[in-house]
Amino acid sequence: MAGVSRLRLLLAGALVLLLLLLLQARPCCASTASHGEDTASQGDTVDHNDTGAHGETEGHESTDNGGEHGAANITTLPIVTWKWHHVSIPYIVALWILVCWLCKLVFELDHRVTSVFPESGLLIFIGFVLGGIVWGANNVQTFTLTPTVFFFYLLPQIILDTGYFMPNKLFFSNLGAILIYAVIGTCWNAAAVGISMWGCYLGGAMGDLNIGLLQFLLYGSLLSAVDPVAVIAVFEEVHVNEVLFILVFGESLLNDGVTVVLYNVCDAFVSLGAANIDAVQIIRGIISFFVVAFGGALVGVVFAILLSLLTRYTKNIQIIEAGFIFVLGYLSYLTAEMLSLSAILSITFCGVCCQKYINANMDERSVITVRYVMKVFANGSETMIFVFLGITAIDKAIWVWNTGFILLTIFFILVYRVMGVFFLTWILNKYRLVPISLIDQVVMSYGGLRGAVAYGLAVMLNEKKIPEKNLMISTTLIVIYFTVILQGITMKPLVQWLKVKRAEHSDLKLVEKVNNRAFEHLLCAVEDICGQIGDNWWTRGWNRFEEKYISWLLMKPKSRKTRDYLFGIFHKLNLEDAMNYVSEGERRGSLAFLRGNDDAQVDFKKKFGKDIEDVMPDIMVDTEHVPMSSILQDTIPSVSLDLHEQDSQGKMEGDAHNLLQQHLYRSRKQHHHKYSRSNFSINQNEDEVQEIFQRTMRSRLESFKSAKMGVAPGKIITKHPQKERQQKMANGNPTNRSKSHPYGDEDFEFSVSEGDSASGGEGATAGGYSFRLPPYTVGAGIENPAFMPEMDTPHPMRPPPWRSEPEMDVTVAPSQRAQRRLPWTPSQIHRLVPLRVSTRSEDSFVMADVLSPEEEPKDPPPGQDGSRM
């Protein structure tokens, strides 16, 4: 086990090195790597290597494609050319992404590593290594994380992801605390760090530097960006209580935005110069702070509304509807940036506000797509950011060491974080129903890790205004390494040692949800009785408003109607059960164990699970002319699942199978022209099902009548399917019985009539039809009308299959000829016979008489079929 993983580790490591060598190997093998590794995205100049350098390796003359070199000396038509230049930039970017992700793969191979070291710290370490290699090869750091790349291409998806996955209810119920931490706490940190550093500087603690108070404030503001990736990871792992979780999570989310705003304000002050700052400018700065922050949030909300409205109408372009959230989210980011509002807050609020509505509006598959794609983007770019934070460090150019400056920075950051958290919590606790405990406060203050935002802002510093820019960058990097690596590693032991209150990790239970709902109503009522306006009052007021107006505006009427909180939970639970059920069935080899107890208590969990499971056997066995979706739709209403949701669910699950199924169907049953394949579109509705059903029934009725009159055509029609079916049953024999059973039961009435129409022989016909029928049982109401005139009563009871076999002999006995008629009957279908007999015995006698002459000559071919079984 360990050996294997070590092997994979080595392999992955080797791969990474290989890639790097490919990138870096200009000196040694210029011909392959040639134009090298320059210009990731930071716009270094690309060396334009000359043409034809690679000709040798390719084995024929190649001309460079880089247009400027021109097609200098083409003598023959090149078959293949080496076009590195053409692709170099995207190629390098893609390679780096690959390398970074592979890095993650490398240490995810062994969970012992990640359980001790935080992932972000490990990524930084790998970044060091990679950076060392790059530097070793080039003697200059070619790849660094530039602010443009960071803020435009790496950050937005991370923020969107956190916003989109924000647990809304928790977030908004703690919004007050989160805002206080994120706004006041951040400002406090920035100001306190800046001023203290300045004080120490004046005191001579860091030697001779060219920094003024404003620059220190700017520095403090960029350092106040908290990025608790590692903390969140630890929290998720140990399941800390949800209040602590949301406080840290929410704070980190809003804090980035606030930091950037603060940074910009300070930056503006710096550009203004200390001399020009008076009270008016300060007030303007404060106003600008709020305008930028709230303006950004507002832009985000506007985009969220647009997005929600848009997804109301994307039903017809389901394939790409998932893409809208990314595009519009990104646009909200850019728009806010364009208006010089807070882009981060904009995309945050876009994600937070739209999630409910787009999840309700979009198709369930699209929701899942969004979820996963979002994670891919966010996690991918997070990985890249940390790797590059490591790589960036390996660069002589940026390192300016000033021990006093660095140590004091770290010290102040830690101290003021603690002070801020404790002070703000002290205030908050006066107003909180559940006070934030001391331990939680400790964890929160220790969770103040700094991340890439701080670095990005540091790099953005203007060297002209801040002469000590490099000192600030290197200190920021050290702060990041210190917090991410050291604090990240110690976070988990700390959480465990302090015995932070854990969240009760329990399975979702309907009864809990029901009671939570009841509690909410209860609290509202109590507040009303006490005549006070409290949190619950506001919550309820908002919920009412939201339901009445916002949902009305932003949600599809259809999904609005079918949305119900409790029902949603119920549905979700049932889906889970179904999944478990299926896997249980697969574990046992089949779902056959179901059969034992499918009598009265076929509760729908089972049934649903069964249906999903059925999809696959179905393909091989003989119900395949029924699209899965119809089965799903059909069985579920009978057990009271919400139709709409179920419908979409069924589509989702059955889609791929459907496709396959239909193809199978076509190849096997081309002659089966009663209805066309196109009827089985995914969106098949009930009308269609009924239509098909009625048509089938009518034709059967006709064939039945004609059969009764002794006319052959009708019979012939019914015969082919039989053969087909038998063949298939031969294939699918083992599963056949158990499978057809659960819903087969309901069809016994049909099979009865079928049997009659075919003049009830051994039940082959009946069997054949019975398998075909299940899908139609939906229209349980319809089936009878069609046959009522002919049939006396519906079949009274449904004997279980195993009982039917002994009876068969008895039942068939009355008509010897009928028996002879279909000797090729597959044995497993016998179970249907008793039903037939019990209802319409006389009919079958009559028909047997009429038909038998025709039947006899047909014995031999069926016999072949039978032998196949």
Partner: protein, 195 residues
């Protein structure tokens, strides 16, 4: 808060209520003035009608059930003591009172008392069991009309299944406690009373 209202409340009463319910002095006087303003009959007791006059309760799906909870069985008047005793169920549990006075009996805002209160909301016939019908009634009040009776029935069935351990298709109080043991009832059934 009228001084008239609080003057009707004698200090001894306040002390007793304080002891019994754990409310602070100011909370008691504040709630007394509220009590007084609800008491249209001015007879020192609230009737069901008094509660029903609160407009928000009329649109609370569980409003009537909650009103009922204020009235001891068989009575249709509740005095201030009773009123406060019911409200005390919703006081948050404070850390310092968890281990204070172990022999003083269980405080009204203890976890099990909170749960009992919730349980009683369902248990109309007071047989200490929530039957399927009782649950259905409450569910019907709480879910929208879009859910069919059939669906609701299956929700109720499932809910009972989750809680029912002895197979009688009812939820007894002990089962109720058991199934909600992981729910933070102390927090979810508490409000912050204004001082």
């Amino acid at each position: 808060m009228g001084s008239r209202a609080s003057s009707l409340l004698r200090e001894e009463d306040i002390e007793e209520i304080k002891k019994e319910t754990g409310f602070s002095h100011s909370q008691i006087t504040r709630l007394y003035s509220r009590f007084h303003s609800l008491d249209k009959g001015e007879n020192g007791a609230l009737s069901r009608e008094d509660f029903q006059r609160i407009p928000e309760l009329a649109i609370n799906p569980l409003g009537d059930r909650i009103i009922n909870a204020f009235f001891p069985e068989g009575e249709d008047q509740v005095n201030f003591r009773g009123f406060m005793r019911t409200l005390a169920h919703f006081r948050p549990v404070e850390d310092n009172e968890k281990n204070k006075d172990p022999d003083a009996g269980e405080p009204l805002n203890s976890r099990s008392n909170k749960l009992l209160f919730a349980f009683r909301l369902y248990d109309l016939d007071r047989d200490d069991k929530i039957s399927r019908d009782e649950l259905l009634q409450v569910l019907r009040m709480m879910v929208g009309v879009n859910i069919s009776d059939e669906q609701l029935g299956s929700i109720a069935d499932r809910t009972i299944q989750e809680a029912d351990t002895n197979g009688d298709m009812c939820i007894s109080f002990s089962e109720f406690i058991k199934v909600l043991e992981k729910v933070d009832v102390e927090q979810k059934m508490s409000i912050r009373f204004l001082h």
